[in-house]
Structures are given as C-alpha cells and as structure tokens.
C-alpha cells in the first residue's frame, strides 16, 4: 500500500526558500566572494528561485552556475549511463565560497561527485551545501547539509516526489511517498 504525504505546498516552499536565503545572506553577507552552484536536474530550479530572491534582497546580481555530475558518478560500472546534461560555470571557483544547491539529500553520493566536479573549476576556499529536503539516516558517505529546508525520517524504499511549476506542473508540491 502506498501512502503519499505532502512536505511542501507553494506557500510553505516560498517561506522556506525565504528563510534559506536569509541564512545564506547572514553567512555570506554581500556575496562578493561567494557563488551558488545548482545541481542538475532539479537543483537548478531551486538555484533559480534562491538566486532571484537574494538578488532582490541585496539589489545586485550574484554569481551562479549549474553543474551536471554525470561524468563524476561512482556507479558508472553498475548502472545505465544517464544522459549528461548541461554544465555552465562561467567563472573560476579559486578562493571562492561555493554553495551547492540541490533538492534532496539522500545517500550523499551526488554531492560527493559534485564536489569532484567543482574542483575542476579551481580550488574553492570553502564548499557548503544547501538542500530543500534532507532524508536523515540514509547516508552512504559522511556528507551533511549546511542549510536545510526540512529534515525527514525515511526508509530506503521511500521516494521524494518534487513537482515544480518550472517542470510544467500546475502547482508546486513536494511529496514523500511511503511504499
């Protein structure tokens, strides 16, 4: 039997993103030496929302990029190759504070591969991680978020379904599905 419960609707998502943006500004001040990097495929939608909010709060354009981690995955030998998506990081990350943005943190392997990818654009001063949903107790490697929208307890067979307006859905909704 499948049980579907809502983690976020549009209003709650907006409030949470608002809070995350203020936390980011508290730590990164005017973002003069900080950049945001969204992970493909869905992290880029949150990057876009967070960037727009911070831009309006700071009244300036902050630097950002998008990263596809396909070429850095560690399951290349066991899985079907996912089709690589666009990477666009039009700056060097040397000595910069980098904030990785993704939708869901599960095993931590995607974030590990993202850090490998980011290192190809220079040596950052610091890397932080922002996720909207942190699935606690399911990590394969020791990676924890610096900023988090919500922490939830899940088991491996659970699934997080992210439906965003940017993906063509009528309303923003993020669900946890227990199977």
């Amino acid at each position: 039997m499948t049980n579907k419960s809502r983690l976020f609707n549009r209003e709650r998502l907006e409030i949470t993103i608002d809070r995350l943006c203020h936390q980011l500004i508290e730590n990164h001040k005017n973002f003069n030496n900080s950049v945001l990097i969204g992970l493909q495929p869905r992290g880029i939608f949150f990057l876009d929302r967070i960037k727009r909010k911070i831009n309006s709060l700071l009244e300036k354009e902050i630097e950002s990029g998008i990263l596809d981690t396909t070429f850095y995955r560690d399951d290349f030998r066991s899985n079907e190759i996912p089709q690589a998506k666009e990477t666009l990081i039009p700056f060097l990350v040397d000595d910069k504070n980098v904030v990785i943005i993704d939708d869901v943190l599960f095993t931590g392997r995607t974030v590990r591969s993202a850090m490998d990818g980011i290192m190809n654009f220079g040596r950052p001063k610091k890397i932080e991680l922002l996720v909207l949903v942190d699935r606690k107790y399911s990590r394969d490697i020791p990676i924890e978020p610096t900023y988090c929208g919500i922490k939830i307890n899940t088991i491996t067979s659970d699934r997080i379904e992210v439906n965003l307006a940017e993906q063509g859905f009528e309303k923003d909704n993020i669900w946890v599905i227990n199977r």
Partner: protein, 308 residues
C-alpha cells in the same frame, strides 16, 4: 535515446540518425569539459583502451589518446611496425593477446577494408574503427558534421561539396553517409580518374569542374591527395592537379561567395589547398581537430556502457 545500439562503431552506414544526434549531444557536454581549467573527468577510470594501429596516423591517434586520457582511461598503444605482426602473427591472435591483458576496448586502424568488422565479430569487447583502408573513418565524419553543425546551426538542406581524391578516401564515404543521414545535399568533385565509377548510386551529385562545385556549395570539404595510395597515374602531376583542382584565394574571390573550407588533414599545402585559404577566417581546419577530441570522448564514453 539512452544508449548506442551496437557495441562497436565500425562505420556510419549502419548508424541511426538518433545515434548520430545522441553522440553530438554528448560531445557538446565534453566540449564544455575541455574548456575547464582541469580538462579531465573520471568516467572511464575503470577501463583500459588499446589503440591498435596497423597504419600510420598522427592526428587520429593523438586525438583518440588524448580523448582516452581526458576520460581517465588507461591507454596502451600498439603499432604494427614495432610488433610481432612483422613476425607473422595473425590479426586475431594479436588482438586476443592484447585483450587477455584485461583490455576493455579496441581502437583500430588497418589498411584492409573490413578488418575492424572481422575483429568486432570475433571478440566481445567494443571495437572503434579509426579508418579501414578506403572504406570508412566514422569518427572523422562525425567530427566533420559536428563542426559544420556548430558553424551553420544545422546541416539539413545544406550543400556540401567533397573535393579531391574520392577514390582513395574513407573520409569521403563516411562523410557521404553521415551528411545524407543529417539531411544535407552532397556533391563530389574531382578528376574523373579519382571518382569511383558507381559512387553515383549513393545519390550524390558528381562534378568535374571545381568552379561549378564551389559555386554550388555552402561548405567545401577538401580531401588530401593520398600520394601513398596512388597506384596508377590518375593525374599527370601534382602541379597539374593543383592548377585544376587546387583551391586558392584568387579562385574563391572569383566565385564571390562565402564558402566554409574544411580539410581532414594532413594538408598538402599548395596542392589541394593554398595556405591563404587553409589559414583564412572561413577555414574550420583547426575547429575540426579541436572537435575531434570531444567527439571521440563521446563515442568511447557511450560505448563503454557496452563493456560493463
């Protein structure tokens, strides 16, 4: 499309249009990787690839090797002139001896048409044809088409003239297949002694006058006169070939049309193409070489899934 259909890349003839576009999409991503400060990804760190060359090569071999290293694969190079082939070892014995050392993929160039096809049938690892005699050179055609697409936005309905020594050219055959699959119109131009008799069955225009070919085309892909493969006297002298079929600035000015110039290399400067054309702003010769690495990375990356 999620993966290529065959375990091998032996030619363009049997490649589907979707597969060509899939390779191009993947090459786009690798082209971006090649612009990064660190131009290397760990995708094929679990693989060992052998470059088995029974015929000389400079840029193809370098390009494949660089692509393999950018993908973090281990690479071994085999050259027939320095091997036991000289002592009479058969092709399959040579390949099997390489494979038993835990090699996962073979990139092969051979003077005999069909040699990579024979090897591919007899082993379960991927084989990439890096040129088999006068038959096919698929990665060259892919990088040529990719370069045209990058420059012109699309290939459909574009007019491409392949000029020069068609008879001895594997690049020409692979290009004809690839360009036609992508919707281009193809013309072959050269002295009739260098155009194969039945090539018109491939639905290409034939032209012997280079001025007409240049007036017709958007892109001129100029082929090298393959001096090493000229058995009979197909033309009186290189000088005469250069006079009738050589492309120089003066000739292009007479045509009064912006034509993109391509050449798979190595260039016989002053024979099929003059230096002022090879080095002009309309020349994509160096773009072709640059794109070659991204295309070969894409092909090996996509075929590597067949070796899991």
């Amino acid at each position: 499309m999620e993966q290529l259909l065959s375990k091998d890349l032996l030619g363009i003839k049997n490649l589907k249009l979707d597969e060509i576009n899939f390779i191009f999409d993947t090459a786009d991503k690798f082209k971006e990787v090649l612009q990064r400060p660190i131009k290397k990804v760990p995708s094929l760190r679990h693989m060992t690839i052998a470059n088995v060359f029974f015929e000389n090569s400079t840029r193809t071999k370098l390009s494949f090797e660089l692509a393999q290293k950018r993908l973090s694969a281990d690479v071994i190079n085999f050259s027939s002139s320095m091997s036991s082939v000289k002592k009479g070892e058969s092709l399959l014995d040579t390949i099997n001896n390489i494979l038993v050392m835990k090699v996962d993929m073979i990139v092969m160039r051979h003077p005999d048409p069909g040699a990579p096809h024979f090897v591919a049938k007899n082993i379960n690892k991927s084989v990439i044809n890096a040129g088999d005699g006068t038959h096919e050179h698929p990665t060259q055609a892919l990088l040529d088409c990719y370069t045209i697409k990058e420059k012109l936005g699309e290939i459909k309905n574009k007019k491409i003239a392949i000029i020069g020594d068609i008879s001895h050219s594997r690049v020409a055959i692979s290009n004809i297949y690839a360009l036609q699959k992508l919707g281009a119109k193809v013309m072959l131009c050269g002295p009739s002694t260098l155009i194969p008799k039945h090539i018109s069955s491939l639905n290409v225009h034939i032209e012997n006058d280079i001025k007409n070919a240049l007036k017709w085309c958007d892109v001129a892909n100029v082929l090298r006169i393959q001096l090493e493969r000229q058995g009979n006297n197909n033309f009186p002298s290189l000088r005469e070939y250069g006079l009738y079929y050589g492309i120089n600035k003066k000739l292009l000015e007479k045509i009064k049309k912006d034509i993109i110039i391509m050449h798979p290399g190595p260039i016989n400067r002053g024979v099929e193409i003059s230096s002022d054309v090879a080095d002009s702003k309309n020349s994509l010769v160096l773009d072709q070489v640059e794109n070659g690495v991204a295309i070969r990375m894409a092909v090996m990356y996509l075929l590597s899934q067949k070796n899991i």
